[in-house]
């Protein structure tokens, strides 16, 4: 078979593969789809999507806030209980604001949390044990001090009496004698 015959056969076969046409009512179907199809369905979906997103955000924020409030309430009630136990008047409060009387108690759980929190690489100092404080005694002779006598008042020698000095008064003219 010659090249041109083969090429012609290839062209014919390829042309037949794309031969044909749309149906007779193609135009009518296209026009019907244009007139009947809802335009831009996604524009209708925008308010629904926005509402759903808003609801999701509100739900997330509300759940997070309620979790924080419940945590703070738990901390406050714990501090109130400890205050009552110490014989003081419990402070009734609706908001978990720290009070001067129970600040230490209120911060105690937080401090505990800090102690239990992982240190992320930092070294925690090892707590001291009694054995760490047992140092060997130093070999120094004991210093002895004699006790004072019971009536050991100090003897002070009296000073000699000084003779008085005679002083002549100054006369009216101011001349010295």
């Amino acid at each position: 078979m010659l090249d041109n015959e083969l090429d012609r056969a290839i062209d014919d076969a390829a042309r037949e593969m794309t031969a044909g046409g749309p149906g007779g009512d193609f135009r009518a179907r296209v026009i019907a789809r244009i007139e009947n199809a809802p335009r831009r369905r996604w524009t209708r979906a925008i308010p629904a999507v926005a509402a759903a997103a808003a609801v999701a955000i509100v739900a997330t924020v509300t759940s997070h806030r309620s979790a924080v409030i419940s945590h703070r309430s738990a901390v406050t009630s714990q501090s109130q209980q400890s205050t009552v136990a110490h014989g003081q008047t419990p402070v009734v409060e609706t908001r978990p604001t720290p009070q001067p009387t129970n600040v230490a108690q209120a911060f105690r759980p937080a401090a505990a949390d800090l102690r239990s929190r992982p240190t992320s690489g930092r070294q925690t100092p090892r707590p001291l044990t009694p054995s760490d404080l047992d140092n060997a005694p130093i070999d120094v002779p004991q210093i002895t001090v004699d006790p004072l006598p019971p009536d050991g008042s100090l003897d002070v020698t009296p000073l000699e009496t000084i003779a008085p000095i005679a002083v002549t008064p100054i006369d009216a003219q101011g001349d010295r004698p």
């Binding site: 078979m1 010659l2 090249d3 015959e5 083969l6 090429d7 056969a9 290839i10 062209d11 014919d12 076969a13 390829a14 042309r15 037949e16 593969m17 794309t18 031969a19 044909g20 046409g21 749309p22 149906g23 193609f26 135009r27 179907r29 296209v30 026009i31 789809r33 244009i34 007139e35 199809a37 335009r39």
Partner: protein, 195 residues
């Protein structure tokens, strides 16, 4: 009335003007879709969808290219996307079988109408055509799409380049390479060629 005037009227809401555009270009759009999808049913759907999209995007048509090229670009994208979506192999197989059965029935009709209905020659031609179809099916999509698009006879090479988004030289090379690969496929099956 030319395309530009029909487009202008269609933009103004004249459905009849757009209907005239559909009538004028439906074959080209359909064949472009068929070159990609190889299924008459899918090509019909893709062609319809391409016209619907073109109508909705008509205000965005700036006239940088001809309306036909712009429309065929939309149809081409629609067909490519549809082919990607057709993941079910059985659907392709069924479509190919239907197309080949239609082709063979057409072949038979042509052969019957031919002046020389030699049964041996008929069998030889049918076998050759089947092998060519197999060879074209075995081409890579880029080669096959451009080759079949060119074979529709509806488009110039420049238009094909605009439709598929490739330079003119690339279009020509793909068509040449597709033909070379098909020839090689046939040569390996005993269809020796000379000169």
């Amino acid at each position: 009335m030319d395309d530009a005037e029909l487009v202008s009227r269609a933009r103004g809401g004249d459905a009849a003007a757009f209907g005239a555009l559909v009538d004028r270009h439906r074959h080209a759009v359909y064949r472009a879709a068929l070159a990609v999808l190889r299924s008459h049913a899918d090509a019909e759907d893709a062609a319809q969808e391409a016209f619907v999209k073109a109508y909705r995007q008509l205000r965005g048509f700036r006239g940088d290219s001809s309306f036909k090229t712009w429309l065929l670009t939309i149809a081409w994208r629609e067909a490519i996307n549809r082919r990607r979506a057709l993941k079910s192999i059985w659907r392709h197989v069924i479509a190919d079988r239907g197309l080949r059965m239609a082709d063979s029935s057409d072949d038979r009709a042509i052969d019957v109408a031919a002046a020389d209905p030699d049964p041996e020659q008929m069998a030889h031609d049918n076998q050759l055509r089947r092998h060519i179809t197999e060879a074209i099916d075995a081409l890579t999509p880029k080669l096959r799409d451009v080759f079949l698009l060119a074979q529709t006879g509806e488009h110039t090479y420049d238009e094909i380049g605009a439709i598929v988004g490739a330079p003119l030289g690339t279009v020509k090379w793909r068509i040449f390479e597709a033909r070379r690969v098909v020839r090689e496929y046939l040569r390996q099956r005993g269809y020796a060629h000379a000169g």
